[in-house]
Symmetry: D3
Subunit: 136 residues, 6 copies
Amino acid sequence: MIYITRRERFNSAHKLFREEWSNEQNYETFGKCSNPNWHGHNYELFVTVKGEINPETGFVVDLKELKTIITEKVTNKLDHKNINLDVEFMKGKMASTEVLAVTIFEVLKPHIEAEGAELHSIKLCETENNFVEYFG
Amino acid sequence: MIYITRRERFNSAHKLFREEWSNEQNYETFGKCSNPNWHGHNYELFVTVKGEINPETGFVVDLKELKTIITEKVTNKLDHKNINLDVEFMKGKMASTEVLAVTIFEVLKPHIEAEGAELHSIKLCETENNFVEYFG
Amino acid sequence: MIYITRRERFNSAHKLFREEWSNEQNYETFGKCSNPNWHGHNYELFVTVKGEINPETGFVVDLKELKTIITEKVTNKLDHKNINLDVEFMKGKMASTEVLAVTIFEVLKPHIEAEGAELHSIKLCETENNFVEYFG
Amino acid sequence: MIYITRRERFNSAHKLFREEWSNEQNYETFGKCSNPNWHGHNYELFVTVKGEINPETGFVVDLKELKTIITEKVTNKLDHKNINLDVEFMKGKMASTEVLAVTIFEVLKPHIEAEGAELHSIKLCETENNFVEYFG
Amino acid sequence: MIYITRRERFNSAHKLFREEWSNEQNYETFGKCSNPNWHGHNYELFVTVKGEINPETGFVVDLKELKTIITEKVTNKLDHKNINLDVEFMKGKMASTEVLAVTIFEVLKPHIEAEGAELHSIKLCETENNFVEYFG
Amino acid sequence: MIYITRRERFNSAHKLFREEWSNEQNYETFGKCSNPNWHGHNYELFVTVKGEINPETGFVVDLKELKTIITEKVTNKLDHKNINLDVEFMKGKMASTEVLAVTIFEVLKPHIEAEGAELHSIKLCETENNFVEYFG
């Protein structure tokens, strides 16, 4: 069993905000992350897949195909978008790094399994000081 | 003459957009950077100051004071904000990295001169692949 | 279960040295790390906490509170200090990266549990080429 | 139990290529990685060893000795070499990151055990976007 | 006048070698960089362009067009190639970082001027420890 | 004219302190950098040399020789040392990044000129947020 990881990046706006709360209540809970006019990040996404090495190719999975899956299913839908407003798979969810990481895992899992590999984990970095990991 | 640089960071939303143009015209000129619902970045700002070394302290400038100036005058006003909507010194300007770098230079220059030092340059990084430098 | 990590940094002096040994014996065991007049590092500390996502906030733990705990209990006590001489929780211990990582884990564990979260691991980087991980 | 990691680097040429296939068939499977005249990378290798802390030294393993083992047994044989042509332990194998990581694990394991420590994992980075991990 | 920089990357094989010299003479001059079977690097290329800000767009130059020029004229011809054997604009030249940086400058200059901008400099990084800069 | 840069690193202890001042006066001027029991850093040193390209080798300067000069004359004398106490060329000087950068420039200049090259600049990074540049 070997683990291979692909990094992709996307630049998005978001806010941490509950519509049913006042701005003050949102600020009390989420601090500056609740700014009503949004803020944004350069996100780094690490997708780790595991499997046996194919003896003919030396590969666990073809990285070009893994990159295509991540780009088409996830990063193209997030890049230069507003996570709260523009992204179908985040509708009705909190746009926290935790929830986004779990959702990306769920979006990617069936597509990676269709390639005969297994999704091991998602690591999502919001800044150089904060990141989240999810293993399913 | 010696040059000393302080790095600060801020996370903001913005879009490249001219209000008098249609969404289509904006998209044609600015591509995905014109997304009406905004996107965002982790910006890195490098402020370079030059001067003679004070023989008593070994300093060109007290970095704590330089940090205070950058934070109070610039990064606190940009961090977790929308550059187009929330930032007084960017009102009525294009929120491009170039224009933001020039504006930060102009905002900082008098405050750094008041400390007896000289502002040499601003370097502003929008992503790991793009940055701008301005020397006044 | 999801894992969230906060990075903090501190700059400290230390040496690897047993007082009951001669300088020569220390040099034989610890090499240049035993320099009697100390040396130092920019340490990077990664604290990983795990838990369930709170559905109301989208958080495992409030990162501002996690940052406050790490800063007050650990990094403020190490930053711009001598690890062998100035740090209460390292008194009488070898100032190796391994021992420091284990000690930081033990210092942080009860404070993070008091927040209702669980401390998963400490990663402590001494240089770009060396780091240690401890899982309790 | 604590984990300590040493990073080493090497710069090598390679290609992904099966001699019994035509150039076209290789290109179809391996894309630009099959370029007949080779290409190359700056590889980063992270070797993680685990064990108990020696109470006298505060060490799991002497990093100088770990560095010597990695350098003599692995990186000196790969650095500024052609992985397909010049490296004894890769003869007859696919020069993929996956196969190279597994092989480095197998080469290092007995030498690290001879030091009284245990090899936990190999992480091998081919570019800033791709890396492989192997745990034996 | 403002300066904007775009980073691109390419992974190539090369050697430092004069055909008219023996392997021994090449080794004496170029050391391990003369390995007859090649070695390789992950190169990082920084292209800096200068000009006035267009008041309508806030741009010095459209980064998408700059990226297209760099990719089509330079990095697509170097990436996953052998610099000594596969690259038209390096034929008959030493494949040193210095000569490659000067050549890239000369290749890019007319194409960037055709966009109405001015090429300021090329920075080319061979490893994390070595890089070259050329200003024309 | 082309510019080539070599990075080297060293890990040292220091403090900012004037012996003729009280601890309080030192703290007022230098803050936590005046801690009497020292603190330390992982310093990064970038040495930039300029010259014409030698047409036979493609080199401005042999990087192995440049590395030897930097290591023997500068970094071996600073690494795992106390800058205030252990380093001959810093005796009687303030151990600030500014003064250290100027001193390293003066130490290296004659040795680099003896190689037929010209020292262009020293860049010295104390943390990821602070660095100094000196051009002679």
